[in-house]
Subunit: 289 residues, 2 copies
Amino acid sequence: MLSTQMSEVRPESQTSALHPPSAEAGWQRQGKLWSNLKELCEVLRIPATPSVADEELLFQHVQFKTGQRIHTIGQTFDTLYIVHSGFLKTVLIDEFGNEQVLSFPMKGDLFGVDGIHTKRYASEAVALSNCDLILLPFKKFTALGRTHVELEHAMYSVMSRELVREQAMVSMLGALSAEARVARFLVSLAERFAEMGYSSKLFNLRMTRHEIGSYLGLTLETVSRTLSAFNEIGLITVDQRSIGIKDADALKTLRRLPPSSSRAKQVAAKKARQHAQSIASSWTQLETA
Amino acid sequence: MLSTQMSEVRPESQTSALHPPSAEAGWQRQGKLWSNLKELCEVLRIPATPSVADEELLFQHVQFKTGQRIHTIGQTFDTLYIVHSGFLKTVLIDEFGNEQVLSFPMKGDLFGVDGIHTKRYASEAVALSNCDLILLPFKKFTALGRTHVELEHAMYSVMSRELVREQAMVSMLGALSAEARVARFLVSLAERFAEMGYSSKLFNLRMTRHEIGSYLGLTLETVSRTLSAFNEIGLITVDQRSIGIKDADALKTLRRLPPSSSRAKQVAAKKARQHAQSIASSWTQLETA
DNA sequence: CGGGTCTTTGATTAGGTTCAATAAGAGTGG
DNA sequence: CCACTCTTATTGAACCTAATCAAAGACCCG
């Protein structure tokens, strides 16, 4: 059985590269320190035009360990972050300390954008696994748009992408049932894993049920129950944080839990009610008899 | 009583306030046709630096009448819109035609940003009243950042602002009760009206209960009931679309409906239940007697 | 091992949805 | 100007989904 905390073959999780996928072993110690513009474009999935072959322009990396905070709410903003590897969460903290998860940035994602407007970060970012981030000072970011005009559009595009993502989120929270939210969450995770070259059929969640629930506007119990229900009807397999996707199509289109497990519950509930009624009615019948 | 459709003293709604429709006809013709950069900055609430006193650079206006669509989902993106006057909604349409309201742009708001990423609008914008919009072709937008470097930051800032707003929305949908959502919606509307120079204490909603509900992730019935409840306990006055704010502070901090009306409901419900039970128990008593 | 965190599952309840009926406007056309 | 229709708003009642409260099991780390 895989370890729960950071399974799969994550580069940072081993020193000797015994395991297949990426040979980026010994991450912690020999983490990449600088990227050039071409690499930056690559990780952001931006088409790199010829002129970006600018070997002079370098971007610093920085490593964070699981649990470390990258930035806090209210902290002075001056740099954007791009995830090179690892998993994070961004959260809002309400007046009385409750976390509201906003996103789970992973490879290729940009975060920190919410700091531009007020010059202070509006959210907090925390590493859910060991992470390798590329620092992109905002000054450098804007300068980039000016000096490499083909990139300017890309800058705006990346920000627009974030906005569209938030819109989709709002739409989901506003309109979908708990089951549909969890289903879509799994699907989108699977897609992200696929993009990153991992299996989209079998992966480990990096976040707790509580964090998922917060992200989806649900309680951790509802998340847990929903996963169990999906498991029962064969859409997925669940074992703690290890998730196996069995029927991606069904998950994609699911709006409310079809039959089966939910039906069973309903039936059970109905039976219970009928049972109670039958007792009552037996009385009334006795009474009226 | 105020007219429902576009109350308050809206500049465009009067040439001669005789006939509502023909007055609009007047409005159409005398709408402002061009703004310079300084005016643009003003409406966007961006500090206008000296160098923007560029009288050559002009931005076209365009008028839309109530109900008209500004852009559709999938339509090729090439221009951003800034609201000079009027009220709109932006919506997402799901696989089976249900609208999900994303925002209610009004004076000073920028929309269309979601089109940058894919080169197609991700949402649809509809005029809820007669509107005067400033067209901001995306090319011009980016050029602006290059030629007026002090403005570049403003460009990013405005986009960041949109993102922060969406985040707040997600947070609200994920964490707050129906009452709290409606309360905050009213407060934020009031603040917007104040910014625009209207009364923040008495205003008319430009959107239907259905649209509000969609925006807040609630049904129209819940919105209506909640407004009625706020009215009952004296937080607001409601008459159709006319809203009077009586206790803004209470609305701001409200998390769940305190006592009073909700208590009354609970009591009523409890009574009903007890009534039913008393019938049942009378039977059982008869039975057991 | 033992304490702490995370997860699962059950029982109950509350908040919101759904269904339904009524009322109030706004717009249309005779 | 009034009847007619269509949309929007209000309100009630029943139902249902997801939250809450609670308890036990799994796993993790020192």
